[in-house]
Symmetry: C2
Subunit: 447 residues, 2 copies
Amino acid sequence: MTRRQLHLNAFLMNTGHHEASWRLPESDPYASVDLAHYVRLARIAERGTFDSLFLADGPQLWSSVGQRPAGALEPITLLTALATATEHIGLIATASTSYNSPYNLARKFATLDHISGGRAGWNIVTTAGAEAARNFGLDAEPAHAERYARAAEFLDVALKLWDSWEDDTIVADKAAGVWGDDAKIHPPRHRGRYFSVEGALNVPRSPQGYPLLVQAGSSEDGKRFAARYAEAVFTAQQTVEDARAFYTDLKSRTVAAGRDADHIKVLPGIVPVIGSTEAEARAHERVLEEHIVHTHGVNHLERLLHLDPGTLELDGPLPADLPPESAIEGAKSRYTLIVELARRERLTVRQLIGRLGGGRGHLTFAGTPEQVADTIQLWFESGAADGFNIMPALLPSGLEAFVDHVVPILRARGLLRTEYGSPRRTLRERYGLPRPANQHVIAPALV
Amino acid sequence: MTRRQLHLNAFLMNTGHHEASWRLPESDPYASVDLAHYVRLARIAERGTFDSLFLADGPQLWSSVGQRPAGALEPITLLTALATATEHIGLIATASTSYNSPYNLARKFATLDHISGGRAGWNIVTTAGAEAARNFGLDAEPAHAERYARAAEFLDVALKLWDSWEDDTIVADKAAGVWGDDAKIHPPRHRGRYFSVEGALNVPRSPQGYPLLVQAGSSEDGKRFAARYAEAVFTAQQTVEDARAFYTDLKSRTVAAGRDADHIKVLPGIVPVIGSTEAEARAHERVLEEHIVHTHGVNHLERLLHLDPGTLELDGPLPADLPPESAIEGAKSRYTLIVELARRERLTVRQLIGRLGGGRGHLTFAGTPEQVADTIQLWFESGAADGFNIMPALLPSGLEAFVDHVVPILRARGLLRTEYGSPRRTLRERYGLPRPANQHVIAPALV
């Protein structure tokens, strides 16, 4: 019997996940708009037989451009270019349900799925923050619960659109002059609280039916949403115990929602900092930390914690009177994770910035390839993960180090495929998930 | 002195511009979702040293799938894939100002411009029809004038977004930890009738500053809009006299709007049906006509003319009591062109369908390569065109015939480049247009 297989996703971000990564000598400060940089990263991940790669996103200029690289190419567009530069790897784009129309977004993902031969995935986000809201005609951020209610209706409409063509709609009868079967077109005729969408999509159903549905919010609303819709979940977890609790909770919520526990894959994020010895790995980590500009870090942390500028003192602890998660309308679960990390390890603001610099709340792990592989295997085999979201501190070198040194160990242990094999597979097949049936078609076994 | 140069655009559409093209033996009825088909077309156009290629679009399933191939990949996404398969040719995507948000759309075009190295163009449309409106929460089509008012504000916001980063915002000072100059970021802070957009775009300014602005509406509102914003205009003209009148009018409107007459390029559409003799060309045309399903054609024509189903009789003339253009809220100028064509040439509905089958109102011309080249040269040299929008009846073979047989004649006559040359040029450079200055930067000569 084959061993249960790890799923690996490469979370690509500019020059790396460490906030000071762009300052290192090897980094290209123009990487964010350089297609060649992303092609190189995608090919490294494909060499490592990763299941997928992933781009985060938000429709706003998040930070001051003085502080760090800001701005990024739009993910669906960039992944389309990467689809032509790769053959096997899945391509997961973040897109917001709060600031898109279902018709346009459903069509773009269907297009990416066609162009990539069934490798598209959608990381569904509701987009926290007033900055984004103000770019789309709103004065303030919609409330957290409101964003999730809209997201649920958005998904329902998108699924109706993706199913608005049956798979075998095109009959291509040239002699009779009949191209398609109109009886197999199902306009959504949706009229809801947030959306009214009348007509069928203008793209035939795509190889996967629709993109792999991915989600990353770990708040109460986020977990409820994930249990209902998500096929893969990215999550930030600092300890194996927390990860195990999250994993168990999410699987049972998924079962409670009437779905198979195996049909949702949980991938915690890990920022591996790899050295040939533990001392070398720690030295790499120190070099990154030394490049952090602490005034920028304080500013960044104040935004993450919804504090007024100037609240935090660099060498003091976090304030004791921080509001509870329930008072936060932004990224709720990340807020709690950061506050708990600081309190559990009694970190000063400076120390907390150092810890977050590498992973913004994700597990940062400095060690040898064996130690990184051991951690991955431990989490994977103790009910804490179905795989990992790999977030290299430095790109491309951190991804290269992972693929060249950690991947061979995982393969030798029988935890990771050694090649993609043929025929080519869809992203959903890589994750071991079934192709979704069209909601308008009764399964043959049930007829 | 070099002769004035023709500009050529390849208008790509599925299996061709003739409505029956998909029924011919050579045609692939699945072409609309096949990236390889479009890559092949783009490379043929690039072999013909075309300035650009172009994809039309509308966010709705236009016709019954029974009648003809319906649905298409989303243009910006598809052109991104084509950007990676070509080196020189411009890439013009249609997108609607009525059914997009400025922030999202400006970002997508900036992304395409970065990925293609400055080859992006935007065919700006306001999108006629109630079908599209009903896919975006509206019950009915917005009025023609309303759509154009929104389009003008959309353009103003998009231009503010594309100029929200000065070209030299990124300073990349690693030693000081300063990535960009915050003084060179200019948030739009736009509050208008249709849009409120507060923040700067989250993509650095792209190679061209912003995409080439293309427009194709020839109504009164359309021409006013073009004179103010467009750098290239696609138009349907049936006679050289009409084309000359349109050309002269548009150039003088552009000058009246305070712009240079050379900074708007006028490209009428032409559907060339090419044969080695005139008789062979006519035979090709007949084969296409014979494949038209006339009941579908009647249905299509009734929609173009905003008539109730069943109004038209196949072997009769158009009704005498058609409403005037002013009563039409859809594609106004196309309506008038079709009605005038039918009346001028006293065509029956059947004959009109035959004439429209090839070009939906664009000039269809069957002849030898010399005759096609003569027509192009005549229009080009008599003040009717700066170039042509080439709309092959059949794809890929019609584009191949044009590139293999008409392009060499145009080159021999000194009207068309023989190679793209180096260094690579942006789309705007191909069309002989200046790179737009950033509205926040005072030109050095004026300081």
